[in-house]
Symmetry: C2
Subunit: 185 residues, 2 copies
DNA sequence: GAAGATACTTACTTATTAGTAAGTAAGCTA
DNA sequence: TAGCTTACTTACTAATAAGTAAGTATCTTC
């Protein structure tokens, strides 16, 4: 893995553990055994670094969508595959949802991050809404409310679950996840 | 309102808008037209300031519980009263849940905040679990899963809803809230 | 009316922050 | 082999951070 990729991974790590204002270029460089100027060489501004982290999440989401398209036959499987994103965060030493982290510290963020963040959230909500609508159409889901509302609830519930897990432990996460899935069928 | 109370209110404001690491004593003092040392006079360390904010939230929660005990006859009303805490955050220029904010930045927080935070979350979950259990016993609720699981889902969903509202707008919040309530009955 | 407490200000310190300018060693390219 | 590019280091800067020590004005209490 290149230094640039390592920096990006560490930035992601810190954003999801400490928040955007809870880490410095020195934190990253010291872990990698390089100087903070080397981090600035790859990502001149912290805002650009955060922007790349968001882009990476967007790509990761698009990969999930693609795999769901190819491999998953049931809509439940598609939703479950989507939720592995959150599972992975839990496994990575109790990371919080990336979007949740940015949203929480939104007023202390460079304003340039707003647009890419909104685009990512909109893409996720739109895809999940579609999957839920189709799943209901196919008779697989029987939830109350509109697919859009339900999609918003799932994203919020999962993001909140990761936060709650940090304080009360991981069982909370799995219980919330299973309820969200149960309320779908 | 005393300067001390004003400082506390501003700290709460910043924690819920910027996160613990997204504001400074200078941010607070400049708004109040005093010097940063005056803030240190009332709250010597930032950790103590944050601790007082948590205590304030604990008191606020206990007031809600007390009022629910006295005024609310149905369990639905008790839950609705509890959810006004989140409504108020939304109204206050889209504040995020206080606990959610601390949880998100947990790894970049003074470790002394961990215990009071966990105590607050435990108290909330415990009370809400009780209300949901009694409401189901009384035939008022018919949700799936255990009351504890359902309580965790409601707290997570509401915290996530406030975060989602910051990015996609306030309608998301109300839709999520109404779904959480609908899934109860 | 003297003594102490309250609520600050002035004037610092030390540490950390994002960011930069200039230099360098190693590898690739014409 | 001369020159360019890549990936850094060295050595800064200016701003901001939390926190402190000493001084001061005002109010309260005996």
């Amino acid at each position: 893995m290149s230094t640039k990729e390592k920096i990006l991974d560490l930035a992601e790590h810190y954003i999801q553990h400490n928040g955007y204002n809870g880490f410095s270029y020195h934190d990253i460089s010291s872990v990698l055994g390089i100087k903070n100027a080397a981090v600035h060489y790859h990502f001149p501004k912290k805002e650009e670094l955060a922007n790349e982290v968001i882009k990476k999440a967007q790509v990761q989401f698009e990969n999930i969508v693609e795999k769901a398209e190819v491999y998953d036959v049931t809509y439940t499987d598609k939703v479950r595959r989507f939720l592995t994103i959150y599972d992975n965060n839990l496994r990575k030493e109790n990371r919080v949802c990336l979007i949740g982290s940015f949203a929480t510290n939104l007023d202390a963020l460079p304003p340039g991050l707003n647009a890419p963040l909104a685009a990512l959230v909109a893409a996720i909500k739109s895809w999940l809404t579609m999957v839920l609508a189709q799943g209901r159409e196919a008779g697989e889901f029987h939830f109350r409310g509109s697919p859009g509302q339900r999609a918003a609830l799932i994203c919020s519930g999962m993001a909140g679950a990761l936060q709650l897990a940090k304080i009360l432990g991981n069982e909370e996460y799995y219980e919330i996840k299973s309820q969200l899935l149960n309320d779908l069928v």
